[in-house]
């Protein structure tokens, strides 16, 4: 059952050198209880997409924002005021950098309590109990003591768990996790993702997980969205995509991941680069790097080809 539908999302940044189309026509849907993974290398627009869905595009400096975000039968983009009730309460974000995401001069417990006060109108001992409960839920040792600590006193992993607690605090329906724990130790990252999986199993939480690690993807995501140059290249069930990737970029991405995983030094990567953000790309975003690129790829933007219920690919090469 679909609980979130994003249509033709566009987020452009204006700079002196031109317009950066960080997100250029991204559409997807999220079903209840599933984890949708957004993958792609650094800079393809995953994080901006997440922030845009949360209605924070302007806050990160975007000039033009367009598209539709359908949630609970309403288009949040049509009436931005709706975000007030949605953010934090129904759709929660777990940001990428745990270290800088929290106010350094407030205790962790206070910041968690804030959200409880604002969204659930809790106060006093009830609030305190809930804080301790939440911190325990994310498997932080000594929750009541931890609540009194300041962000700088906690390790990266602990902070990430705090962010998770904050995200879960008001019982949201959707969590958008922006590369959680990616800057931390892989073991810690695995632990945290494990915690998330556990919690997700017990509730009917739906999640959008931004990731760039094959292990993370295969273990956590039900469906995948492969992005490049601000556009969706391929989408579908994780199992299907991993087994048989269709889009040239997906193929290359998986090759790279497997190569890195195995520590194979003989990996042959096409030494391409992301299109300069300032150039306008009329054709396929991947044309500059694609081994199978043809003239048509450079001039005409491929439309998503629907292969079956779950699978879409945007590539001329396949439709030929």
């Amino acid at each position: 059952m679909e609980i979130l539908r994003v249509n033709n999302l566009k987020t452009y940044f204006k700079t002196t050198h031109g317009t950066v189309k960080a997100v250029d026509g991204v559409s997807f849907s999220l079903n209840r209880g599933e984890t949708l993974g957004i993958v792609g290398e650094s800079g393809v627009g995953k994080s901006v997409t997440a922030h845009t869905v949360m209605g924070l595009a302007r806050n990160i400096g975007a000039g033009i924002v367009d598209g539709e975000v359908w949630y609970e039968g309403k288009d949040l983009f049509a009436d931005h005021g709706l975000y007030g009730q949605v953010r934090g309460a129904k759709i929660a974000l777990i940001p990428q950098e745990a270290g800088t995401a929290l106010n350094p001069v407030m205790t962790v417990g206070d910041q968690l309590g804030e959200v409880l006060s604002v969204h659930l109108a809790l106060s006093g001992s009830e609030k305190q109990q809930r804080i301790v409960q939440l911190l325990g839920l994310v498997e932080l040792p000594n929750p009541s003591q931890t609540a009194r600590l300041y962000p700088f006193q906690l390790s990266g992993g602990a902070l990430q768990r705090v962010l998770l607690a904050i995200a879960l605090s008001c019982g949201p329906e959707i969590i958008i996790a922006d590369e959680p724990a990616s800057s931390l130790d892989t073991t810690i990252q695995a632990q945290i993702l494990g915690t998330i999986r556990d919690i997700k199993r017990k509730s009917e939480l739906s999640m959008i997980l931004i990731a760039h690690d094959l292990g993370v993807i295969s273990q956590n995501c039900d469906r995948l969205l492969v992005m490049y140059g601000g556009r969706v290249m391929e989408s579908g069930l994780t199992s299907e995509i991993l087994r048989q990737p269709l889009h040239p970029y997906t193929i290359e991405l998986l090759e790279i991941y497997r190569c890195l995983d195995e520590g194979d030094l003989g990996c042959d990567f096409n030494k391409g680069y992301l299109p300069s953000s300032y150039e306008d790309v009329p054709g396929c975003a991947f044309a500059g790097r694609c081994r199978q690129a043809r003239d048509r790829c450079r001039t005409e933007r491929p439309a998503p080809l629907i292969i079956n219920d779950n699978r879409t690919v945007s590539c001329h090469f396949l439709s030929a």
Partner: protein, 287 residues
């Protein structure tokens, strides 16, 4: 990334500051050409006349032309300002560098000494010294340097300390580079930016100091046309002849403003992080 909008704002500031200062310098240089009369020439029959006629800014109690005096006064202010700045810059930078680089006792002594200087109420030290060793422009410049150098020294010291900790300085030292060379080649260039910014903005403060001291009778002495001297005189006729206060006052404000604008603009220019902020700010946080 210095984006367009940010740069225009910085440029506006620097240009407006620069224009003001350039005009001032020009006025100071061509003072004799544009003044209708000698700044010291008295004309008692025309004393305290309001602006108009040949005296654009009016005349003071001794019939001296205010316009001419203001124009010549700019020479005094600019000379004092720039001279004091240059001397303070060298002294402060030198001492700050020593303290920062060598640390230890030298550093502690410098810090304590500058603390003592900074514990005196502002200007009071200058007032005392001027009162006791006598007036005169050389004394004035000397005194102003004495009260200002600690701030520069601290600034430079801070910069030196932070640069000193950087990897490439360690590398140079391990390679056996002579300390002097390290200082000149690696550390000094990094101090330029804040020192230049702070220095430019200090000129305004120095000019204010000079004017204040002269106002109190402890700086430039009458009948020299320092703006401070003019204001001291003006104070007595404030009700009867407000132009005596207004014109030197305005001249001072414009001068100080010019240096502040320039310093501010330079500050943004030399500190890219701040100018980036102008463009990519969380401008509209609502919604």
């Amino acid at each position: 990334m210095l984006t367009g909008k940010g740069m225009t704002e910085i440029n506006k500031t620097i240009i407006s500051g620069g224009v003001i200062i350039t005009l001032l310098i020009i006025v100071a240089i061509i003072a004799p050409l544009i003044s209708p009369s000698e700044p010291l020439a008295q004309n008692l029959s025309a004393s305290l006349s309001s602006p108009g006629g040949s005296a654009f800014f009016g005349t003071d109690s001794l019939g001296r032309d205010i316009f001419s005096r203001v124009v010549y006064g700019s020479r005094i202010s600019l000379t004092v300002g720039i001279t004091v700045l240059t001397l303070t810059l060298f002294l402060g930078t030198f001492l700050g560098m020593l303290a920062g680089y060598f640390g230890g006792v030298l550093d502690s002594v410098l810090m304590r000494v500058s603390d003592v200087f900074m514990s005196f109420p502002p200007l009071v030290l200058a007032m005392i010294v001027m009162a006791f060793i006598g007036p005169g422009i050389a004394n004035l410049v000397g005194v102003l340097v004495i009260i200002r150098w600690p701030q520069f020294a601290r600034l430079v010291r801070g910069q030196v300390i932070s640069v000193k900790g950087m990897a490439y300085v360690d590398a140079a030292r391990i390679a056996g580079t002579h300390p002097l060379k390290i200082v000149l080649k690696h550390i000094l260039p990094n101090c330029f930016a804040p020192v230049i910014t702070y220095g430019t903005m200090s000129v305004g403060a120095i000019i204010i100091d000079e004017t204040a001291l002269s106002f109190l009778g402890l700086g430039i002495q009458p009948p020299a046309p320092s703006w401070g001297v003019m204001l001291a005189d003006a104070k007595n006729y404030i009700a009867a002849a407000p132009w005596l206060v207004m014109f030197p006052g305005l001249a001072m404000i414009v001068t100080v403003l010019g240096f502040n604008l320039l310093g501010d603009g330079l500050g943004y220019l030399l500190n890219p992080k701040q100018s980036e902020r102008i463009e990519v700010t969380h401008g509209n946080i609502k919604g």
